[in-house]
């Protein structure tokens, strides 16, 4: 699954104030060929954090100054969407609930099985990859939509509502022939051959409802 971390900004971001734990976790992740970027406190991580980053965050709940939960809350505020695994010393219910509410995707109670840790990291990375793939597709579609002329866009909106060319022409005050031209150009710009393809593509950008 390491192919999910091919981008040069991709890594497992380890945030832990305890140098022994931090180094050992890094060693464990590296033994699985995962690139690691380690931070010794929440502030250092937040200062460096970039929305372009991908991968996942592994953060200890109990740290001086800024706790793991506060790091997650701040990430939420800044719109950093990296999946996060929170490590807790005592897996009590309130901490778990707060962690999940703060946007943690997972939490792991210490002492943990290192294989379990690696599994969770991979799951988080897969989740992030999926998220990013979806994001990329959306961006593509959005850029294609942006290339449409105003007329082509008007025609598209009526086409996906199932209006025939004749009524589109009447509504826009143009000839059926002109509608056909706009429609063909619109489909070509969006890379669609059939109307069902067009609808499926648009649903990904704007979920129905």
């Amino acid at each position: 699954m390491t192919q999910t971390l091919t981008a040069k900004t991709a890594a497992v971001f380890v945030v832990d104030d305890d140098p022994d734990v931090r180094r050992s976790v890094a060693d464990l992740l590296q033994s699985d060929d995962l690139p690691v970027r380690a931070f010794d406190c929440g502030q250092a991580f937040l200062d460096a954090a970039d929305p372009e980053w991908c991968g996942c965050v592994l953060v200890d709940v109990r740290m001086p100054r800024i706790s793991g939960l506060e790091v997650l809350e701040e990430m939420n505020r800044r719109g950093l969407r990296l999946p996060a695994i929170i490590l807790t010393g005592h897996g009590d219910v309130p901490t778990a609930v707060r962690a999940l509410r703060s946007g943690a995707n997972d939490f792991l109670e210490k002492p943990y099985n290192p294989r379990d840790l690696l599994d969770r990291v991979h799951r988080a990375l897969a989740c992030d990859a999926e998220r990013r793939a979806g994001l990329e597709l959306r961006q593509q579609i959005e850029s294609r939509l942006a290339a449409l002329s105003q007329r082509e866009r008007q025609v598209m909106e009526r086409v996906i509502r199932g209006e025939p060319n004749k009524s589109i022409a009447a509504a826009l005050g143009i000839t059926i022939r002109t509608v056909e031209v706009h429609r063909a150009r619109m489909m070509a710009k969006l890379g669609c051959e059939h109307i069902t393809e067009l609808v499926r593509m648009l649903v990904q950008v704007e979920p129905p409802g």
Binding site: D20, S24, V25, L28, G89, H90, K110, P111, Y112
Partner: protein, 632 residues
């Protein structure tokens, strides 16, 4: 008016009336010039002294703080041309008391004295003094009236009725403050349904005598039924004062007393508490029906002898009951009192409190008769024990939560190196598996793992140091007291678990310089362990003995149980941190105990008893002749 008097040149004015007549007036008549200087005066007050006032400015005779109103009166007189009144005070230069005058100022409008003023000053000093005295007396009366503890009401005597005139402060709470609404009511209205009281107050007003009158009265204001004692007193010239004493509570107490006397008469017959009357000579018992029922018999169907009664007492309790009973019979105790278990005929156990007294003795002081009761306290005791169980749980929870906090802190501290160890181990395993590891890399990881193991050990050492250091407050302490207090804490728990807590305390325990709370913690741990150790034994063997013995300059305290004892292996490790044989144990208690005892320069240990079970003991140094502190 014809006053021939030149304003400046002639200092002696011609009297405008007969000089003698004016001189005889009780008022002082003064003529001043426009500028206020005195031209003439009919007579000089004796308080003035020998100096002549003529030529002085009249205003100099006015107290400075009153001069402004004096001048204002002058202005008013000038403007209106009519006489103006003003009160002024004067401190005579002879040192006589301050004098007050009511002065009438009249401007002279014609004749030679035009522009002059005629002042007529009346000495009102005496009047003001009397007024002040009257005010004081009234104020004093009001204070007395209002601070009188009894609710007091004043009635004004009118021609054909008494009118409610006023009331004091105490009357307010008595009537819930509603009394004020009744000012102006007639006596006939207040006591419309109480003719005897109406008659009493009228008799007071008519005959001018004091009247005491007791009445059951429904309060006009609050609707309460009260028994009141009213004292009516005539106050000249036209008032009746009514003091009210509330006898309601007294009456209630009296009623209750009467009732309880009546109850006492039918006491034995209807006794709820089982009563018995024991003939000690013949061993026969007369008992109330309830006593029979307590034991499970039909009342009076069997012959209830002393022997039969004793056969119902729990065998474990019997020796104590017998001893207390005998002590009372022999007259060593004024009464017999015991709490013990009674078996009913159908085999249930009831817990009862028995109490009795000897009511007859012969010439040799031998007891003949004893009367007493058995009170069934089973339900009470069960409720108490339930409450204590809940309390014990709370206590346990409280202790567990502080231990829990400590445990969480320790867990975090230990988790860190443990996490590092497993991470390194797993990482290294994976590298070995893939064959991509150099031997120096391997050595580095192993060194890290060893270092993490050290770190975990340090956590434990630090923990012990912290526990030993916590809040030590040494004071000279009688350790026997500490033992008794610790045992007292266990009493409810011991009763529930049917454990006998026994002591054998040194008669000369001396004093040790210790933190009593910490030593108590040690004792609590040892006693709790002992109670756990004997939990499975039959009741008769469930005994924990706490013994203190003097050994020279030290005191040895031992907690001894007859439990299953400990194996050599366990004995060697019981004081180690986190070592426990109990599934719910944390293994902290004895380790903590050792830390505490050692921090008090003492020793702690465990040994097997010859007869089974084991003894945990500790030895603490005692203070010598002079108070010296044991090393902390």
């Amino acid at each position: 008016m014809n006053m021939a008097m030149p304003p400046e040149s002639a200092p002696t004015p011609q009297p405008f009336l007969s000089h003698d007549l004016v001189g005889a007036l009780p008022e002082y008549v003064v003529i001043t010039r426009t500028d206020g200087r005195i031209l003439w005066i009919n007579r000089v007050p004796p308080e003035h002294g020998p100096e002549s006032p003529i030529g002085q400015n009249a205003i100099d005779y006015v107290l400075p703080e009153l001069r402004e109103s004096y001048r204002a009166a002058f202005r008013r007189a000038t403007e209106s041309g009519t006489p103006q009144e003003v009160d002024v005070a004067w401190d005579p230069p002879t040192g006589a008391a301050r004098m007050w005058f009511s002065v009438s100022i009249t401007p002279v409008r014609d004749g030679e004295l035009t522009g002059c003023f005629v002042l007529v000053a009346r000495d009102i000093t005496q009047r003001l003094r009397l007024e002040g005295a009257l005010r004081d007396a009234q104020a004093q009366f009001r204070v007395h009236f209002n601070s009188h503890p009894l609710p007091t009401f004043v009635f004004r005597i009118e021609r054909d009725a008494l009118i409610f005139h006023e009331f004091n402060t105490a009357a307010l709470p008595f009537t819930n403050g509603r009394i004020a609404e009744m000012i102006g009511f007639t006596d006939a209205r207040l006591w419309s349904d109480d003719p005897p009281t109406l008659d009493a107050i009228r008799r007071c007003a008519r005959d001018r005598v004091g009247v005491r009158h007791v009445t059951d009265y429904r309060m006009f204001t609050t609707g309460e039924q009260k028994r009141l004692c009213l004292y009516f007193a005539y106050v000249p010239p036209r008032f009746v004062v009514a003091y009210v004493e509330d006898l309601t509570e007294q009456q209630r107490a009296l009623d209750a007393l009467r009732q309880s006397e009546a109850r006492a008469r039918s006491f034995f017959d209807a006794a709820i508490d089982p009563l018995w009357d024991l003939d000690l000579v013949h061993g026969s018992v007369v008992a109330s029906p309830s006593q029979y029922r307590l034991l499970g018999y039909e009342p009076n169907k069997i012959d209830l002898s002393l022997d039969r009664y004793l056969s119902h007492i729990h065998p474990d309790d019997l020796p104590t009951v017998q001893a207390k009973f005998d002590a009372c019979v022999r007259g060593e105790q004024p009464f017999y009192q015991s709490e013990h278990r009674l078996r009913t005929r159908d085999g249930q156990w009831r817990r009862i409190v028995a109490r009795a007294v000897v009511v007859g003795r012969d010439e040799q002081e031998r007891a003949l008769r004893m009367v007493g009761y058995d009170r069934d306290v089973t339900a009470e005791r069960e409720a108490e024990e339930r409450a204590q169980r809940i309390l014990a749980q709370h206590d346990h929870l409280a202790r567990m939560s502080s231990l829990g906090e400590m445990a969480a802190a320790i867990a975090h501290e230990l988790n860190q190196p443990l996490a590092a160890i497993v991470n390194y181990a797993e990482a290294t395993r994976r590298r070995l598996e893939s064959g991509a590891v150099a031997s120096d890399e391997l050595a580095d990881r192993l060194a890290e793992i060893a270092r993490m193991g050290q770190r975990a050990g340090d956590v434990i050492r630090r923990l012990r140091a912290v526990v030993g250091r916590r809040a030590s407050q040494p004071a000279a302490t009688d350790l026997n007291d500490t033992i008794r207090e610790s045992l007292a804490l266990f009493e409810p728990e011991a009763r529930l678990a049917a454990v006998h807590l026994e002591t054998a305390l040194a008669p000369d325990p001396g004093r040790a310089m210790v933190d009593a709370v910490q030593i108590q913690l040690v004792l609590l741990n040892l006693i709790r362990n002992a109670m756990h150790a004997i939990a499975g034994l039959p009741e008769a063997e469930r005994r924990v003995l706490v013994r203190s013995e003097r050994c020279g300059a030290t005191l040895r305290v031992a907690v001894v149980d007859r439990g299953a004892g400990l194996s050599d292996e366990v004995m060697a490790r019981v004081f180690d941190p986190f070592f426990t044989t109990r599934p719910d144990g944390m293994g902290i208690g004895l380790s903590l105990a050792r830390t505490i005892i050692e921090s008090h320069s003492g020793r702690i240990g465990a040994e097997r008893n010859v007869g089974g079970g084991c003894a945990f003991w500790f030895i603490l140094p005692l203070l010598g002749g002079e108070s010296r502190q044991v090393a902390e």
